[in-house]
Every structure is written in C-alpha cells, then in structure tokens.
C-alpha cells in the first residue's frame, strides 16, 4: 500500500503538552516538513525559549537549546557565529519575541544574523494562563486586561514584521496564518524560503505565524480559527513586508 501521508521524520513521535486545538502542532509539522524536504535535520540547531514552546526541545529531532526568556536570538547568534555551516532557527512566541526579547530581536535582525526566526503570534501569554501580550488587540480581554485592553492605559500592539521591515539587515519578513489549508500551505512555503535564505547566506529571515490559543481565548478550536480570521488578520495583515533579494532583482 502506498503511503501518501506520514509524520515528518524530524518531528518526534510523542504526545505534546499543547492544549487541544492549539495550532502549534500545525506549525511544528510544517517546520519539520521543510527540514525533512531539505534533508538538514542533522545540520540543524533549534533554539526554543520560555513560553508555550519551552518544551519543544522534546518534539524536534534536531539538536536543541533551551534559551532564557526572550534571549533566543542572542543564543542563536552565538550558535550560528560559531557554526556558520549549520542551520539555526528560533521558535518564539509573542511575549518572548516582542516584549522581554525586543532588543535581541531587533539587533539580531539589524545585524543580519543568518538565522531563521519562527515567530508564533497568538496575541496572548499562553503558558502563564493568558495575560496581555505585546500583540494583544485593543479591547481584547485577558487575565491582566479584564475589561479589555485599554490603549490609554496599556498602549498599542506591536506589529513586528512592519517594524523589522525598516531594517537593512532583514532579508525576509513575512506574516502568514494557519487558519485554513491555503494559508497553511503559504506558511510552509514561507518557512521553506526562510531556510533557503539561510542556505544561501542571505541573512535574517522572520516568519510571523498568526496562531490561536483556544484555551486562553475561551473559544472552541473552530471558534478560535474564526477569531484569527476575523479579528487578528485584519489587524495584522498577511503578506511579505520585506524581501530584500526580490527587491534587488526587481531593480
């Protein structure tokens, strides 16, 4: 019997700790499909920091480093600079990447570190039980914005791809989502492109993946995908914010 669909080899066959309906599973899968298709598992070093992805070192079969909260791009910088022939990626959430680790994010980007950053944005701190994140939408109810995010009090969300696209060191800044099959395919292609960039030493590539958190959003998985589509994507439009080499070719 012909096998038409199977688990990626680089995705360890264990139950994950993620909540039912969480889209981390999809993102893990497409990332591992890319690693498998490029045949780079043995040459890849993953960095996962603090947040829901903290235990992802048990799920990816490549070598893994667990970084302090927000510091994944610095840890990845150290790993990549000392191993320029290896593939290095980080897998970070929004609190990690856009709040406590903002400096590490911005400076690894502007240095053009030749790494891939997978940025999973679900507009909340999932691991600690759903507090306001730097990407929490105005009006969004969280544990620490019980009456909805009041922008007079708590300020505005950070649009990471837009912000990083102004930096010369960034090769690719693209926002994708995993709410539908076409979007998942697009997300996988973006991740593939980011790893191809690293292979060709093009510099810093960030793929922002709009994701869900049914548990802390207080929604069913299906409802959560609806919220992602109807509320998150309008605030965080999908698309390529920067593709340095496409721009150069166009010139």
């Amino acid at each position: 019997m012909a096998v038409v669909f199977e688990r990626p080899k680089s995705l360890v066959d264990v139950s994950t700790h993620y909540c039912p309906g969480c889209t981390h599973g999809i993102i893990h899968r497409i990332l591992c499909e890319v690693i498998d298709e490029m045949g780079i598992e043995g040459d890849t070093i993953g960095v996962c920091p603090v947040g829901c992805s903290v235990m992802a070192y048990d799920y990816f079969r490549c070598d893994m480093i667990e970084a302090p909260h927000g510091r994944a791009p610095a840890v990845a910088t150290g790993a990549k600079r000392s191993n320029p022939d290896k593939y290095v990626f980080t897998y970070q959430g929004d609190g990690d990447l856009a709040a406590i680790g903002t400096a590490e994010t911005v400076h690894s980007a502007t240095r053009g570190e030749n790494i891939v950053v997978i940025f999973v944005n679900n507009t909340t701190y999932g691991m600690t039980g759903g507090q306001m994140a730097p990407t929490t939408l105005p009006g969004q109810v969280t544990q620490t914005t019980p009456f909805g995010r009041d922008t007079d009090l708590a300020g505005f969300p950070v649009r990471v791809c837009e912000m990083l696209s102004t930096l010369d060191g960034v090769a690719l800044a693209q926002r994708v989502a995993v709410d539908s099959v076409p979007h998942v395919r697009e997300a996988k292609n973006a991740i593939r492109k980011a790893f191809e960039n690293q292979k060709e030493k093009k510099g810093f590539s960030i793929i922002e993946v709009l994701s869900t958190c049914p548990t802390n959003w207080g929604l069913t998985p299906i409802e959560a995908l609806g919220r992602l589509r109807n509320e998150c994507i309008p605030y965080y439009p999908l698309g390529v914010y920067k593709d340095k080499y496409a721009e150069e070719v166009a010139k």
């Binding site: 903290v54 079969r61 070598d63 480093i65 667990e66 970084a67 610095a74 911005v106």
Partner: protein, 351 residues
C-alpha cells in the same frame, strides 16, 4: 620566554585567545573596555569571532549559544554589567555549560563609580544568579596571574561543565606589567553533549535547564553539588607568605593583597610576626590553606576594597577559632600600606 609589557585587560584577552577561546561577546563598560577593543583587533585574525552585543544580557546569551555547540566562549564586563549577566550565568550553570566571564570590578552599588573595587565578592561567590549553584571564581593579583588564570578557567570550566569567573578589579585591569605567555597545549576535552548538529550519527542533544518534575530537578542539582564537593577537595589555591611563625595573619585577595604584602613586610621590619594568606580561588575558598597558614596565629586581619565580604568566608573557614578583624575601603579609595600597617600594629599591641 618572551616577556611583553601589557595592560591587564589586554593580557586577559590575549590569554583567552591562546587558550582556544573562539568567541568573544561583549558590551562597552569602564574599566574593562580595552579587553573588547583588543578582541576586536585580534579575534578575526586568530580565526575566532568577535561581536559587540546590544547588551550585557545578549552577550552572555551569545556565550550560552556558542558554548552549547561545544566552542570555548567568553564575555567580559564590570560590576553593573555583570549584574545584567546574572540571568544567563544561572541558565548556563543549570544547563551544565562551560564559559568564562571576566569581571573587572568597579565601585557599587548602582552605577557606583569607575574606580577599582572588590564589592562583588558576594555576588561572585554566593549569588551569581538565581537558584542553587556555584561558579569557579579566580582572583588574580598580577597581570601574569590574569594570564595564567584565564587559561586555567577555560580548562576547568570545560572539565567540570560549569561557568568560571575571573574576579579582577579596575586596578589590575588598567595597570601594565611584564607578562609571558606559557606554551599552551590546548586541552581537548570531549563534549559529546554539544548541540552542534547530530549529522544523523547520534541521538539529538538537548541543552536545557528545565526540569518540571521536582524529583528530577532535585536529582540534577544534587549531582551538580556532588561535583562541587570534588572541586572543593581538589581545586583550592592560595599563596601563603611568611606564615610559618606568624601570630597575625592578614588575608587579602587581588590588588588589595599587593598593598597588604607591603604592610606585612613593613611589620616584619618593625619586629612583628605577621604573615599573609592570599586566596587565589574564591570559590572554592581555600579553607585548608587558610587554616594551615593560621596554625600559630592569634588573630586575623581581613583587608578588602569593600565593607567586608570575603571576611565571611574567612570566619567560616576558621570556624570562629580566631578573632577576625576587618579593614576596608570602598570603591576607588585604595588602602595604603601604612593604613594596613597601622591596623596590624593595633592588633599586635592588644595580643
């Protein structure tokens, strides 16, 4: 052997390169900046990586990343910057990662001052981050010792899989002395735990400090402390000076020990039986060496460029068997030999 006149900060850098340090990550801060400047000039030529990080926090995490892949890596800073590295050092200790951290101490707390100080003793030996752990702490007292201790720090950090610190001060960092660099036979210590790509030839490696199952965490920490006990038995170092018949023992480390030694010599000339024990390792503290040096002593004088921090370890080491006096000055107010001599005479008069 060739001898060069070198500034302490630059000697630290050169020694690291010769010890096989392949990555230096730093951030500017007085009074250690020459170290980074030297690395910026030399590292690329030596086949290594120099990178100026966006912060002290990023710098130590770059060390964490490089060290995870099995490469010798170092960062350097001075007191306020070292505080920022505390998080990373704790993660490194919890992940059993080697690495060398230089602290060219200045005055504190807060922004303190930019003059030499020894006020980070507690931080280095007690609380270089959250959690139960130790790091190796070396206290050079000359530019030559800075060289020798950096090499030793890299070797022992690799051997015991833990961070090591050179606790220097602004005086040592800024002064020039002749140094020679020993022929280094770089120790090759196998690092089968390194996350440098498994090449489909082994199981994947994980560098991690998280243990959600409490018994697992306890077991890991306990195993680490068994390793610490071995180090305490075998890797303490101290200089004993004129201790054989000494009735008063002066204890001091680093730059302060140079001042104290002059005072001990002056006291001897005045007919007082005084000696000195200078800890060269601060963790592990040279308990045995201090007790040996104090075998005929009736009193101890601890001299520091702080309000009294190492004195805690001196008292613990002697187990309250002798009276321990203290003389200290804070950041930048370097004690003079006459200051110390006066304290010795005061103690001598009361014996």
């Amino acid at each position: 052997m060739e001898r060069n006149l070198m500034k302490g900060n630059e000697a630290l850098a050169e020694a690291a390169i010769r010890a096989g340090c392949k990555c230096f990550f730093g951030y500017p801060i007085t009074p250690q900046t020459e170290l980074a400047a030297y690395m910026a000039k030399r590292m690329a030529k030596a086949g290594g990586v120099f990178l100026q990080a966006e912060s002290e926090i990023a710098a130590i995490n770059m060390v964490l990343g490089a060290s995870s892949t099995g490469v010798r890596a170092m960062t350097s800073s001075s007191s306020p910057g070292v505080s920022l590295k505390a998080e990373g050092v704790s993660y490194m200790a919890g992940s059993d990662l080697p690495g060398v951290i230089i602290n060219v101490q200045r005055g504190g707390p807060g922004l303190g001052g930019i003059q030499p100080s020894q006020a980070d003793y507690w931080q280095a030996t007690r609380a270089m981050g959250h959690g139960d752990f130790h790091i190796l702490v070396f206290a050079p007292s000359s530019v030559q010792e800075m060289v020798d201790m950096v090499i030793k720090a890299f070797d022992l950090a690799d051997e015991f899989r833990m961070p090591a610190m050179i606790l220097a001060d602004g005086l040592l960092g800024q002064m020039m002395e002749p140094v020679s660099f020993p022929e280094i036979t770089a120790k090759t210590i196998e690092k089968p735990w390194a996350t440098n790509g498994h090449k489909n030839a082994r199981k994947h490696n994980i560098v991690n400090s998280l243990y959600l199952q409490a018994p697992d965490l306890q077991r890991t920490v306990q195993e680490r402390f068994e390793r610490y006990e071995k180090i305490k038995q075998t890797h303490t170092e101290a200089e004993s000076y004129l201790t054989e018949d000494a009735e008063i023992i002066v204890t001091a480390y680093g730059a302060t020990a140079r001042v104290a030694k002059s005072a001990v010599n002056a006291a001897r000339e005045a007919g007082l039986k005084v000696g000195m024990v200078r800890p060269k390792t601060l963790w592990p503290f040279p308990v045995r060496e201090l007790n040996e040096g104090c075998k005929n002593a009736k009193a101890v004088l601890c001299v520091e460029m702080s309000m009294g921090q190492m004195i805690d370890d001196v008292k613990l080491a002697l187990n309250c068997s002798l009276p321990v006096h203290f003389f200290g000055r804070t950041g930048g107010v370097i004690p003079t030999p006459n200051d110390v001599l006066a304290e010795i005479q005061k103690i001598g008069g009361a014996l």
